[in-house]
Symmetry: C2
Subunit: 327 residues, 2 copies
């Protein structure tokens, strides 16, 4: 029942006088939230409204609005699919579709679940707009030597702490690039990873890669086994609670067996198609900034007063990239 010896004097101080000890400790060793709060304005980077999907669900049981905002990943990752998604939004494809699947500790899925064709009496897929691309499986990853990603990637934990061996079971990790968590294989390819809130493209069996008409978001422990098997196209940056708190579907894989349980989607639009005053304005903490490095390091070594034994390491999905609304 060993304790971390480095922490022993600390614990003793707190034991003697918890209230007194708390404040100096928080000042000397700010927690992750305090580090983010202290970041300077220049550490934040704007997210273009043209990279945002604005999804409005039908109002909730008590009439409350339910808006979910998704940031699309930028080139060179998953671009065939995000191009399709922009076309689908422009065509108002999702309006009148629904959330069809809520599987606990896994995903919420929405889009085209088929609709009852009055002529055939069958459930047919909703017709897709023209001009969608069929994306190849090779696009699940990006070759580092074919891009300048490598030079702009940040591997925070090793570089800031000199700690090696903190790769995870799925990739060399943790790396970030332009605000996105990445997996990296043998330093040859990179791919966006399935953390909580990641948005991906539903598909059928290989070689199908999905069009983007059916999307899902992660509402449980990061299902990293999906990395490189499905396209990650973005992440929910606001309103995920409108998805994660929905009743779980009782059918196989969490699909709603009763069509009435499906949650109607009123509309999905690109942020820059809204009237200018209504365009959502967000920014993220630059993952190349010293503030982000300090934040990630503090997530790996919690010294804020609640903690007695810092972990000394951290999983990439436990370092959510800070995103905030611009006031």
């Amino acid at each position: 029942m060993m304790k971390n010896i480095l922490l022993a004097p600390f614990a003793a101080l707190i034991a003697l006088s918890p209230l007194l000890a708390q404040q100096p400790s928080e000042k000397e060793h700010p927690g992750p939230a305090a580090i983010v709060d202290a970041a300077s304005a220049s550490d934040w980077k704007a997210i273009a409204p043209s990279d945002l999907l604005v999804m409005d669900l039908a109002p909730g049981a008590t009439g409350e609005a339910r808006r979910v905002i998704i940031q699309l990943i930028s080139a060179p990752f998953s671009q065939g699919w995000t191009d399709n998604i922009r076309k689908l939004a422009a065509a108002k494809f999702w309006d009148g579709t629904s959330i069809n699947r809520v599987q606990d500790n896994y995903v919420v899925q929405w889009g085209d679940a088929g609709y009852a064709n009055p002529e055939s009496g069958k459930i047919d897929p909703k017709p897709l707009p023209d001009g969608l691309e069929t994306v190849q499986e090779s696009e699940y990853t990006v070759a580092l030597q074919e891009s300048d990603i490598s030079a702009r990637m940040m591997k925070v934990i090793e570089t800031s702490l000199g700690m090696a061996g903190h790769n995870d079971a799925y990739s060399f990790s943790p790396f970030w690039w332009n605000g996105w968590p990445l997996g990296v294989s043998q330093k040859e390819t990179a791919w966006p990873v399935h953390c909580y809130g990641a948005v991906g493209v539903g598909r059928n069996l290989s070689p199908d890669t999905g069009t983007g008409a059916e999307l899902y978001t992660v509402i449980g422990h990061a299902p990293r086994h999906l990395d490189r098997n499905i396209a990650v196209v973005g992440r929910v940056i606001e309103g995920i609670e409108h998805l994660s708190s929905l009743p779980r579907g009782k059918g196989e894989l969490g699909f709603y067996t009763d069509a009435k349980k499906r949650v109607p989607i009123q509309s999905i639009r690109m942020g820059d198609s809204l009237p200018e005053a209504e365009q959502p304005q967000f920014e993220y903490l630059n993952t190349m900034s010293p503030a982000f490095t300090r934040y990630a390091e503090a997530r790996a070594n919690r010294r804020d007063p609640f903690f007695i034994t810092p972990a000394g390491g951290v999983d990439i999905c436990n370092i959510p990239v800070p995103v905030r609304r611009v006031k």
Copy 2:
């Protein structure tokens, strides 16, 4: 945009004839669920009703019953707290308390949030039953040399695959013991880890360790930084959707600011205190069995038809220990 070369012939086969290819592939390379289904009766071990907490919430909006079943961890882990929890259940302490906190991608917390004292007009804590133990922080971990745990631990991934270097950022991993995922530090101490569904003991600042009167369960990505900082006392084995799909609290840390939003707890009882015919009967897949090894290996290397690139590794919290009801 490299592909895993080992998989190329496989992908080509599926491309030629997806429907034909699916069945032989699933037969030759059963997925995790098929492996669990094929396990023999002797690979399963009974969970004693005396190790189960049965929590009944007030019925839901449409009158549906909401029962959550929690398995308590066995000796030598967290025993001071689980002893307290057995006493609290026997004293019917939680009856009439409530779920007070639902924080997205983090925890649902319940128990004593204080009640309005009609004399003082203040929010007072509910009086605790006599005989609860004050547990020491040293009990968050167990020394391996002081027990026979080490001999009964199973490190599946390395032993079955000969793969090294799959320790995670938080511990030597993945290890299991008697059906529980463990973290291990320098092979000297071990502790139960915070995976999705883990149940822990709320506490105040150190040196407080909590009594067990206030409990939480994880409803998001595994918050492993809490390991060794809070007591893990068990896991939800049925009904977690009644907790994970609750509306998120709008107060700080996800507490419900409006007391009316709190979900009433009708009762929490030990399973063996129910009439014999009503005692819940569950079993778990023996983590020392070859079937579990095959299951864990298949979680690390998904070869079922949906997958084109197996991860080649897996996080301990992505190998949930199979638990099933006994019919």
